[in-house]
Symmetry: C2
Subunit: 339 residues, 2 copies
DNA sequence: GTGAAAGCGCTAACAC
DNA sequence: GTGTTAGCGCTTTCAC
């Protein structure tokens, strides 16, 4: 293992200065064709790779994008990250990932860590930190799963999100069409930024159909997930509260609800129709298979990647608040046969 | 936004030299208590954060660990990464993630990318690259899901893996105890490094029970997964090949098999017993719920993190080939009632 | 079209 | 116990 090869080695081998080598590498400034050939040949021959740390020190930033996410083990998030990592890699960027487990304190620490590392940009997924913090962060930030008012955002903040209002509305329409006249909804944790949009879309959808959803029909657990949803559904049944449809705002919550309904021998969709949200793999394996709102994780990933790249490069962006369409995937937990 | 604050600012504010400031920060070398207090106070007051790029340039390496994985969207991998990211974060390290989608060429590119970034270490998950490449890479590398002969490894290569031989054996014993006398196995893709160990454990387990598994009973698809497994099981049934048990070496393959068996009205476990592998969430939702081999993703993550940290710090390591125990999780796809 | 040289922010000799 | 200084590898002004 010889010393690592630097611009200097290339320069010496070619009998030019390091400045010229640098110009060739970055295709920046003038140099003769002949020099270019010699330099490129030497780079090839010696297997030279520019040292990114030195570059970063000079440029005052790295070619890395920080990604902060509640948990990479969440299928929806990992799908988004898979997609955006691929796009960013193609442009020479790498991603540094942090899991916060939903803790605001952890999020704060991650931002500190990222600041010290001089990342070029930050992608923050389903964050419930105060967005104003981002406004006076020098590094461009894109929020996923969080709708931001375009007017409130500085030029270094943007958002990409599913159209959660639309998904709430779709769920309302599907439950109604399935004969549900007293639907309820189970939201993610109250501080999840998507909760409000989905719920208001749901309320609005029902209202348009002539039904005013009572506030008591909106259930907002402190912790999102399968277990919580089981417990809530169990309580809901034993309380005798009249309901004949559930919009569970995550698929895991929907699956939890389905399991409890099944254990009570309540027929789905005949007695109670159920709509989930996200369309992760488990949805296909519900009993019955779950009707759900599909989020386009791949598209969210690519749009986010393109957005952050533009911002990092100081290129103009089409919009600083991108809404990705959702769609209903009808399976067997809605639309009773006799309707 | 003022200029970013550097050691120099701290030094000036305290009336000391940058060297002293550096000594205090790194707790390296001598300095008076009084100086220390002044410096720390100034750091606090100005909100100084050491520039990691400059440090990295100096130290010739960053505090980042590169992680190369086939796909972060695979639940088992993402659970491992969740775990190891937490551990590494506590020690001040960050992780840079690459997805290869199982492509060796992509893996090669990722290594090149990582080399240019001077990561302190590399964690390579389920890689099928030539390990000898790692031997003359200067940066420590830990392989996950790949058993390496301790003798073949240099001091900068190590491995952490489930005890895949044991899991094959467990599967054999469980199927046998469920009354299966002609079991088959469906492996992950042939180049997956775990395939060989699981299969030989399975063969050995059956042999110990007095059954010699014919080579025709080992099915090795080119592509791992739910769909492939469905197709293979379908073919297996229509071919009339006699079998009464399946060891599917991933849970998704097991779920695919279960679906096909169900569509043919073949009773599980009465007619055919099924054992999966990994114990990811979907296993609980199989029809019937899937008996499977549990892999301890969290432990694999923490052991990997500790290993790579020791290697990075040039500390001695207990072992360069760690085997993490597995366990059978019995659900309803094995052990017919009448036995 | 090319070279010399400064400097990004930090650490570690080395001197005192 | 503290200061001076070289230099990590790169890019970029400024000369010529």
């Amino acid at each position: 293992m010889g010393r690592t090869v630097t611009v200097r080695d290339i320069a010496e081998k070619c009998g030019v200065s390091v400045a010229t080598v640098s110009r060739v590498i970055n295709n920046n400034g003038r140099f003769s064709q002949e020099t270019e050939h010699r330099v490129r040949a030497a780079i090839e021959e010696l297997g030279y790779q520019p040292n990114q740390m030195a570059r970063a020190l000079r440029a005052r930033r790295t070619d890395a994008i920080g990604v902060i996410v509640p948990s990479i083990a969440n299928e929806f998030y990992s799908s988004v990250i898979l997609s955006l990592q691929g796009e960013l890699f193609d442009e020479g960027f790498s991603i540094i990932i942090y899991n916060t487990n939903g803790s605001v304190e952890m999020e704060r620490q991650c931002h500190a860590h990222l600041a010290a590392q001089n990342v070029a940009g930050i992608i923050s997924v389903n964050s419930h930190e105060d967005v104003r913090l981002a406004l006076d962060r020098p590094v461009p930030t894109v929020y996923i799963d969080r709708f931001l008012d375009p007017d409130e955002m500085g030029s270094n903040v943007a958002s990409v999100s599913s159209d959660n209002f639309a998904s709430g509305k779709l769920a309302a329409e599907e439950l109604w069409a399935s004969g549900s006249r007293h639907p309820v909804t189970i939201t993610p944790r109250p501080d999840a930024p998507v909760t409000e949009m989905r719920t208001s879309g749901f309320v609005r959808g029902l209202k348009d159909l002539g039904y005013e959803l009572p506030a008591e029909s909106i259930f907002t657990p402190q912790v999102t997930g399968y277990e919580t949803s089981r417990i809530m559904t169990e309580r809901l049944i034993s309380s005798g509260y009249p309901f004949d449809g559930i919009f569970a705002q995550t698929d895991w919550e929907a699956i939890g609800a389905l399991e409890v309904l099944r254990s009570h021998h309540i027929r789905v969709p005949e007695e109670i129709a159920v709509v989930g949200h996200d369309d992760i793999m488990i949805a296909q394996f519900g009993r019955p298979p779950l009707t759900t709102i599909h989020q386009d994780a791949a598209q969210i990933g690519t749009r986010t990647a393109h957005l952050i790249l533009s911002m990092v490069r100081d290129e103009p962006i089409e919009s600083n608040s991108i809404l990705v369409p959702v769609g209903l995937v009808r399976r067997e937990s809605t639309r009773r046969a006799d309707l």
